[in-house]
Symmetry: C2
Subunit: 352 residues, 2 copies
């Protein structure tokens, strides 16, 4: 594309990722001629503010893509499958945040810090990876370049915003109900029976499989027959495709935690040769998209409270395995709506 | 010991673990002649209820152990170092919940489901392991007996009750302050800026290194020079001693999560031979102290909300590694105050 300004459609403009896309486009001063926010009929007509102006949300139809140069999709897999080809047919390049096209061999799956060159292969659609995958690979790429990654074991601590606005509302409402219930106790009395405290029934508008307030849910996306969830499978398959390592060993355990923003990951990586924490520090310090924050003696390590709203991925707790010098353990935290979704999509659009 | 009833002292009787010890002794109808609750001067004179009677807390002094048969210590390492030998001198057997004696080669470190035979070696003191270690080993022992454990990589999700009553109060107060702050917003408006929502400043009575409300802290106990925390080191060293496997490879990443009760752990175990999830299920189903809860199609897996207050350790999400048939991934949840501390100590006393 050689134009200087682009007509940009944002599909799913009123959702958690869509709204983040709008603010990222604004903050990065993406060269936009016309912004076209699209959503389902339910949200059409709503006004959103963009670059100081009010813009009306339009209904998502095939014809809405007439004249669009770049379409950023974040409205779920079914909408992407239906409307992305329509956008491409009308001349737009689609950056799709759903899982619909990610494993399609004809569609590039891109993390700009990892495989920017893949963008050039696109045939109209470029897929944006899963949030947990993006956050992890930004941290692993610079280490892989130096020591060749062979195996990854990852346990995630994923915030509710990864489940969309309804999941965030569930956590909010559970918290408010619990607080209300607790108002009847003195703090000390309640703490003395923490089990009862934790178990107050607050299930109301439950969209996740379980209550999340003061709980953990080892279940994100649907279960496969082998006992892994789709989320866990995505971390494996997408990592292989993005890294260009079709035999990379990856096993994930994905867990929802009662945090609003930012995903955290405890990552164990096996390399083909020894790599010391000092070497890893030097590599991570100069890596694009990474904040090295690893100063435990000063209580410095990445946390979701700090990394919500940030662009970079925080990496800390870098430790060599005590039994295997080829193994490093890392603690990685990134904003799942920004780097894990909206920012990554806009960065892909910038590569165009 | 051949008496039918025992004089039992509980040291640290007013703390989170001490109170749980009292309720476990009651529930299990431990054969108690006299209960002697001991604590620092600050708590002395307080009345506690035990078996329907009020008992006054006495000051912890060497002479308080005169006539005591069994002393259950949970008042921190310094108190154990000072007073456990005094109790032993006066004829008591000490079960110590602190880390003071755990790695002492002359002191047995016991999980009754794993190494009950070690109790017989005691010279007056028996150590109770770290909560995270106990919860993990109850799940791993039956699998080790069948397939020989070689390596463990574990990421923990530890509740605030592991940090004692003050840490629980911190989470409670942060929650109440956040709820109060949020009362000024409508839910939907706040959710639209989840970053601001998460970052409301509520630091007041902070006893943990960081805020825990809507946050994760990858930092439990103090950091060592190699970047591991003492908590992570304990999981390694104590596992080796309890399992009688001095070369077992163990690496842990320990993380505090905003949950009141029960520790959860994502455990990757490498065995010396292939072990299928079906074999693991059969072994776990008949294992002492274990609930097998692994029916993902029905959304059944252990969660801290359910396992707070339970005696057994819940095991679920049993999956074979897709690249290595000798590797299993498990999700393990146990009440850190009960099985992770008080219950395990009382079980040790029962073995006496």
């Amino acid at each position: 594309m050689s134009k200087k300004e682009f007509n940009v459609a944002v599909v799913g403009a009123t959702g958690a990722v869509g709204r983040t896309m709008l603010s990222v486009l604004e903050q990065r001063q993406f060269p936009i001629k016309n912004l076209i926010p699209l959503a389902s009929e339910r949200s059409a007509g709503k006004k959103i503010r963009f670059a100081g102006k009010e813009v009306a949300v339009q209904v998502l139809t095939p014809d809405a893509f007439e004249g669009v140069d770049i379409a950023l999709f974040s409205a779920g897999g079914a909408r992407s499958l239906e409307f992305a080809p329509e956008a491409v047919k009308r001349g737009a390049v689609v950056v799709d945040n759903s899982s619909a096209f990610r494993m399609d061999p004809t569609v590039p799956l891109v993390v700009p810090e990892v495989n920017p060159e893949a963008v050039a292969q696109h045939k109209g659609i470029i897929a944006n990876p899963n949030c947990s995958t993006i956050v992890m690979l930004v941290a692993l790429k610079p280490l892989h370049d130096a020591a060749v990654l062979e195996r990854v074991v990852v346990s995630t601590y994923q915030s509710v915003s990864g489940g969309g606005e309804k999941a965030m509302l569930q956590l909010w409402q559970e918290n408010q109900s619990l607080s209300e219930a607790w108002r009847n106790y003195s703090a000390h009395e309640s703490i003395r029976d923490a089990v009862a405290l934790q178990k107050v029934d607050v299930s109301k508008s439950q969209v996740m499989a379980q209550r999340i307030g003061y709980n953990l849910i080892p279940h994100i996306d649907v279960f496969q027959s082998d006992g892994y969830t789709k989320e866990e499978l995505k971390m494996r398959e997408e990592s292989r495709k993005i890294m260009g390592l079709p035999h990379l060993k990856v096993s994930a355990t994905c867990v929802r935690v009662p945090v609003f923003m930012a995903h955290s990951e405890s990552v164990t990586c096996t390399f083909s040769k020894s790599i010391s924490p000092q070497q890893a520090h030097a590599l991570l310090k100069k890596a694009a998209g990474v904040d090295l924050l690893d100063n435990p003696q000063e209580n410095q390590y990445p946390m979701p409270l700090v990394y919500g709203g940030r662009d970079n991925v925080g990496v800390g707790r870098v430790r060599q395995d005590p039994d295997d010098a080829n193994v490093l353990h890392l603690w990685v935290v990134g904003d799942n709506l920004r780097k894990g979704a909206a920012l990554n999509a806009v960065q892909i659009a910038e590569l165009l």
